[in-house]
Amino acid sequence: MIEPTRLLAMARKELIQLRRDPRSLALAFALPVLLLILFGYAISWDVRDIRLAVLDQDRSAASRELVDAFRASGYFNLAAFLERSGDVDSLMERGGAQLVLVIPPGFARDLGAGRTASLQAIVDGSDANTATIALGYSEAVVRTWSARVELRGRSVAPPVSAESRVWFNEELASRNMIVPGLVAVIMMVIAAMLTSLTIAREWERGTMEQLAATPVSRLEVVLGKLLPYLGIGLVDVVASSALGVLLFAVPFRGSAVLLMVLSFLFLMGALGLGMFISAVAKSQVLATQLAMVATFLPTMLLSGFMFSIDAMPAPLQAISYLIPARYFLVVTRGIFLKGVGLGVLWTQGLLMLAFAAAGLGLAVVKFRKELD
């Protein structure tokens, strides 16, 4: 069925054309690195340096101690001391503070008398995610501080103490999660974009007719065109992984060989999908646009890269099974952060194999060498 000479002739021709096309070269080599650096620096879900304003109406030793506790926590930056409660509105509107701590008069007195002292925290809820995290931090600071006040002068061990340990991403740095995820997202987009041009180009330039008149088969054309891009894709995976480790200091705990093997499967599918799009579109412009629409947003939003799949509504969860990067994302995060092996990742491997078969199958079926 497949004649190696024809397959190699096809692959070699594609490689020569690729070498002479600066646009494709940039797409193949410069774009993945550029995207990784851009997104790697730009996306961060860590909330630090929250702008804090304080309205201290008590002006006592206790209130000053509490403010110091906020400062010492490392999560807050003291942005302003307010004089009057009227200042709160304008400051929040300008975005000068994300959290305002109001210490009412009588705070120290209540504490001294053993009554529950109340505090008010006003938070800018326009960024709900940051607001929740800021509230959580401030509650933690207050809790720790009040425990200290309660125990002051006595040394009694608290009845229960929970010690938490974070596994796999000890610093809870979102970058450690983002960079391996980015490798998956970028490879999906680049792979599909690269091959989306290749068959459409033959139609556009009229070379398909000459190709069609030779004994070369559809499978040979599709695989022959795929081969060079597969090589490029694997080089890209190595380059972006190395960049993640060297530039972003992301841990790499698993097997590099396993990452390559699973990347191979994933790339076959993504390249096949691009080829399928190319065969459908028959024009280079349309093909790139289709490839972009079909890969970029779905992969960003539904693969679990940005939003946890567990938290999605059921219909979106169902759709996410169709997003191939969903499986590859588990692979990259698993290999980078957890150092897991095939024992854990085999289901992902199988699913990507199925995706590769589907992508290539569709490309071969849809790609008609016949002209009518």
Binding site: E3, T5, R6, L8, A9, M10, R12, K13, I16, Q17, R20, D21, R205, G206, T207, M208, E209, Q210, L211, A212, A213, T214, P215, V216, S217, E370, L371, D372
Partner: protein, 317 residues
């Protein structure tokens, strides 16, 4: 291939929706023949050639090329033919040599013969000193020579050329036909479509197509002899007005400009001498000075125009 003709088709038909592009065409092409396929645009030449080369499936009818069935053995056919399409369709961003290497790979030229075949093609096409140039930089004439070379890398017994010289200057065209003759002399059957009449003269046999139908098939000489309508060449001081004056005149089937003169095809059985005396008076009445009216041998173009006219005229697109 023994006694089997190189190409044999019977009642070949291709429909695109309601439109019948090729309508019940039958013919045979003998081995080593240079077979010309003529017809106005839209006559169905290209569709026929695409059915013969396995690029398009016929709607009905039968055919064999190099002994293989065009409906079921298109893969085998593709191994045994060379095909050069109407538009230049090699890779412009590959060098001359890279194109040749690529197509030797696709045609499965054995590795040990590749260098020899490559050099042969470069030599034949006269491209030896341009082998490292990008194909896109060559002039159209050279591109077509390269395309021909790439189509015969695997030494196919049959070569299909679809308007190989359209848009090529006359001198390059002449050179191109020398190549075709050289290939035919080497035993290749050549099936070529063209709309250049002087090229048609180079063919051993000609098939004329119009509106999807085959309207004539013979050698160029016999086609001329068989034209029964007498032909007159008229020289007048104002040829354009003379054409207008004679159009629709009784006994005249067709008038057209041929350079500075005009050719008038008389209706079949019309008396030539009577027409010779009638035409000058007719024109002079309209104030057109007539220099001469002479009966002439029809050119292929005259034959062609008369046959197309008889078959209902060309499709105007």
């Amino acid at each position: 291939m023994s006694d089997e003709p190189a190409v044999r088709v019977e009642d070949l038909t291709k429909k695109f929706g309601d439109f019948t592009a090729v309508d019940g065409v039958s013919f045979e092409v003998a081995e080593k023949e240079v077979f010309g396929f003529l017809g106005p645009n839209g006559a169905g030449k290209t569709t026929t050639i695409k059915m013969l080369t396995g690029l398009v499936q016929p709607t009905s009818g039968r055919g064999t090329v190099a002994g293989f069935d065009i409906r079921t053995q298109s893969k085998e056919i593709k191994r045994h033919i060379g095909y050069m399409s109407q538009l230049f369709s090699l890779y412009a961003d590959l060098t001359v040599e890279e194109n040749i290497t690529f197509f030797s790979g696709l045609y499965g030229v054995p590795r040990e013969r590749r260098a020899e075949r490559r050099d042969w093609v470069l030599e034949m096409a006269g491209l030896a000193d341009q082998r490292r140039r990008l194909t896109g930089e060559l002039s159209l004439g050279w591109k077509q020579r390269l395309a021909l070379g790439c189509a015969v890398l695997h030494q196919p017994p049959i070569l299909f050329l679809d308007e190989p010289t359209s848009g090529v200057d006359p001198i390059s065209r002449r050179g191109f036909w020398d190549l075709i003759y050289a290939l035919a002399a080497g035993g290749t059957t050549v099936f070529v479509t063209t709309h250049y009449m002087e090229e048609a003269e180079y063919c051993h046999r000609l098939a004329l197509m119009n509106r999807g139908k085959l309207i004539a098939l013979d050698t160029p000489a016999r086609l001329r002899e068989n034209m029964r309508e007498p032909l007159l060449e008229i020289r007048a001081d104002d040829s354009t007005r003379a054409v207008e004056a004679l159009q629709g005149e009784a006994g005249i089937a067709e008038v057209g400009l041929f350079g500075r003169a005009l050719h008038a095809t008389l209706r079949e059985g019309e008396d030539v001498e009577a027409a010779r005396s009638r035409i000058p008076s007719l024109l002079e009445k309209k104030g057109i000075e007539v220099e001469s009216v002479e009966p002439i041998q029809p050119s292929l173009e005259d034959v062609f125009v008369a046959l197309v006219e008889k078959a209902g005229g060309a499709v105007v697109d």
